[in-house]
Symmetry: C2
Amino acid sequence: MSKPYVVGIDIGGTNTVFGIVDARGTVIASSSIKTRKHSNINDYIDELYTELTKLMEATETVDKIHGIGIGAPNANFFTGMIEDGVNLPWPTPIPLAAMMREKFGIPVAITNDANAAAIGEMTYGAARGLKDFIMITLGTGVGSGIVINGQVVYGHDGFAGELGHVISKRTNGRLCGCGRTGCLETYCSATGVARTAREFLEIRTEPSVLRNIPIDQITSKDVYDAAIAGDKIANEIFEYTGEILGEALADFTVFSAPEAFVLFGGLAKSGDLLMKPLRNSMEKNMLSIWKNKVKILPSELKEADAAVLGASALGWEAK
Amino acid sequence: MSKPYVVGIDIGGTNTVFGIVDARGTVIASSSIKTRKHSNINDYIDELYTELTKLMEATETVDKIHGIGIGAPNANFFTGMIEDGVNLPWPTPIPLAAMMREKFGIPVAITNDANAAAIGEMTYGAARGLKDFIMITLGTGVGSGIVINGQVVYGHDGFAGELGHVISKRTNGRLCGCGRTGCLETYCSATGVARTAREFLEIRTEPSVLRNIPIDQITSKDVYDAAIAGDKIANEIFEYTGEILGEALADFTVFSAPEAFVLFGGLAKSGDLLMKPLRNSMEKNMLSIWKNKVKILPSELKEADAAVLGASALGWEAK
């Protein structure tokens, strides 16, 4: 391979993390800049160019980069645009792929962060060798990347795979940032777990170590710590979360009959606290032909590298 | 094309319908046999061979058949088997594709009836030119065939696309034939409409022409006739059905972002009675990026030919 490296760039609301990755999935160098430092997108791209060039020179990979992959919110693989309705400091839509291609003179591909994670997991992680799986990212929200027959599903318009927005509760559902109520991500994200904690603590009277924290400051991490320490309510919060997520995974299975779900993000690292009720609920709700057949796998990408790795994997496909 | 015809075979619980189809989707000849006449599968295949050979001879298409496509319940495209748990008179699993290939000396492919319908619609019907759509068959049950990027989704094991079994009601849901409760098909199939009629008539006191029919004999056709004649309860039954189906289609959209849903089957011919509440509900429940963008199209395959056409379209892919 004459160009044996790719660049992965993860554009988050706060930081933009980027790195140079080899074909085995090793991040050989990485760095970051502040996403919000420049109110002009051209200045932002200039700084990214300067910093990435430094990294390439230090690693002697200038002219050895096959492509650049970018994971960004609302990024459309088909159009190469960051579309409207996103929390970034520049006017949208942004023709990011074209702008980056012009600046760097290298093929560029972009997609949203959950699809990038799915490609990363398929290329370097828990989904190596799987052709049909669904990546579920449990972060501030719930994201997803669906892989069918080895291909990420982009759908008609490039936005497929918004599984955080299936409706889990049709009556008295929680208000979602999308404007609707009852979305999966209002229950099964880190934010959702914190909301469940507030609800449970308000409705119930049992003691809980969570009551020592101001109720509007409780995080999913606090709930995790309390549950690990044996707190009853905290344990029930994880059971409730796992139950709802399990119902959703059973529903997703009838769609694409995946071999596995790959879970990524803070909550995915809760171990049996989440996994046990999740598996029980998924199997309880599963159509019989898929009972005890669909795996739930934790991500195998290191959290620190995952975003860059996921994005970089797309760099191999960039044109 | 040296072999410009295909054979389509639709194996139903009662009748097996088959026909010879040209490349433009014209059924040039068709016939049927009784599925349950032979308790031995070999005798059944022998009769099918005899009858199909007559058709081919009459139409001078012997040696001009590119392939045979078969739509059958629980038929697995990958394995060529009719799997367990199906209402047919022979022991399962049945290696049907291999048996037919041996008997006829022609390539054979099999899949379930809803996938066959999707391929038929893409090849000859309402989905010509669409690469991303979801076929929903509203019959005794609710079936589906999902097409992504021009390919039917078979999933890891060949059984993907059982959308009649997503859970529409998580509390007090109706018992489904699958053993679980609340499945979409318990509400939005012909049988589901009849169940809704029974529920509404028992709970409510208003007059309705449906009360002239013994309650356990009401069919979806009776409800349709009553609604067309202006019956209030009958109209509300269609509104209820459309509302639940619309919620489901909005959820399906976040999965694969289809350009259209194609509806097939008796209920799909109810016109505005179903379509109006269905569209309203789908749009009301739709994530904003897809609002007013996803079409709902009625099937363009003639009901009498649809099963044979759908199966036959698979014949072009048979190997």
